[in-house]
Symmetry: C2
Subunit: 168 residues, 2 copies
C-alpha cells in the first residue's frame, strides 16, 4: 500500500500532542494508536495466509472454534459470545461458510429458538490446514520476542478483563 515512511507517524503524533499541551495523555494516545496499527498489519498478514484457502479471518475463527468443540457443533449465540462479535456477524459468517459447504445449520434438539452450527468433514479438514498455515507463517514468525509475548498476554489480558470481557 505504500513504501516505508521516513519517520514513525505515531511518534510524530505523540510529539504533536506534547507540543499542544496534552503531554499527560500523549503516551497512552501513542500506545493506543500503535495497537490499532499493529492490528491492521497482523490482520493483513493473516488474511494473506488464509486467502489461498478461501477463508477470511472471521470465517477462520468460527471454523477453528467449532473444531475445538467436543461435538463439532455450537449454538450461534454461543459462538457469538465466545468470538465476542455481534450476532449478525456470526449470521454473516455462517451464511458464507454454509455456502462453501464447510458448516451446516441444524435445529437445536430442545430449544426451537436456537440454531446449531456444525462442521462438515471438509470444514474440519480445511480448519486443520488453515491452522497449520497460520501457525507456520504468522504465529511462528510474529517477530515478538518471548518476553514481549508474555508481557503482551498479561497486559492485554488485564485490559480485556477490566473492559468486561470475562470474569475469571
Amino acid at each position: 500500500m505504500g513504501s516505508p515512511l521516513p519517520r514513525d507517524p505515531i511518534a510524530d503524533a505523540q510529539r504533536n500532542w506534547e507540543r499542544h499541551g496534552w503531554g499527560d495523555v500523549a503516551a497512552p494516545m501513542a500506545a493506543i494508536t500503535a495497537i490499532m496499527r499493529t492490528q491492521q498489519i497482523l490482520l493483513a498478514r493473516i488474511e494473506g495466509v488464509l486467502k489461498p484457502y478461501g477463508l477470511t479471518f472471521a470465517r477462520y475463527e468460527l471454523l477453528a472454534l467449532l473444531s475445538f468443540a467436543r461435538s463439532g457443533a455450537l449454538p450461534m449465540n454461543k459462538a457469538s459470545a465466545l468470538l465476542q462479535v455481534h450476532p449478525t456477524s456470526v449470521t454473516n459468517a455462517v451464511d458464507r461458510l454454509e455456502k462453501a459447504a464447510l458448516v451446516v445449520r441444524s435445529p437445536h434438539p430442545t430449544d426451537g429458538r436456537t440454531t446449531l452450527i456444525e462442521l462438515t468433514a471438509e470444514g474440519r479438514t480445511l480448519a486443520k490446514r488453515a491452522t497449520a498455515a497460520l501457525n507456520n507463517e504468522v504465529f511462528g514468525q510474529s517477530g515478538f520476542g518471548d518476553e514481549d509475548v508474555e508481557h503482551l498476554i498479561r497486559v492485554l489480558g488485564d485490559f480485556r478483563k477490566a473492559a468486561g470481557d470475562f470474569t475469571d
Copy 2:
C-alpha cells in the same frame, strides 16, 4: 454486546493450541489474538466518544492529521501514506467530511493529478473539540499503567518498523 464470560476465551484458545501439540506457537497466537480483541474494544470506545460529534474514527484521524499540518491542507496521497490506509479509504472519508462541510477539496497548484484536502473553520473547531473529548474519555483513562504504556510503545514500535511501516 454481551455479558462477561466466565473464562478468558483467549486463554482457552491458548490451552487448546497446547493440547493439540502446537505449544511452540501457542503464546504468540494468544498475544496476537489479544491484540485483535483489544483493538476491537478500543475502537468501540473511541467511536462511542466521537459519535456525538458526528465523527467516526477514520474521519477523526483525517481531521486531526489536517489540523496538525502547517497549512491545514494535505494532498490526498500524503494523507493516505501518513494514515497508512488505502487511497480509496481516504477518498471515502473525504467524501463524507466534505459533505459535512468539515473539509474542502481543492486542486493542487502545480500538479494536476493531485487533490488537496483543506480544513474548513468548522472542521478545525470540531477537530479541537473531538480531540479534547478523546483525551479526556479515552486516552486519559486507558487503564494501562505508565510502564505498560512505555513498553507497548516500544514493542509495537519495533514491530511496526520491522513490518516496513517506517525507516527512521
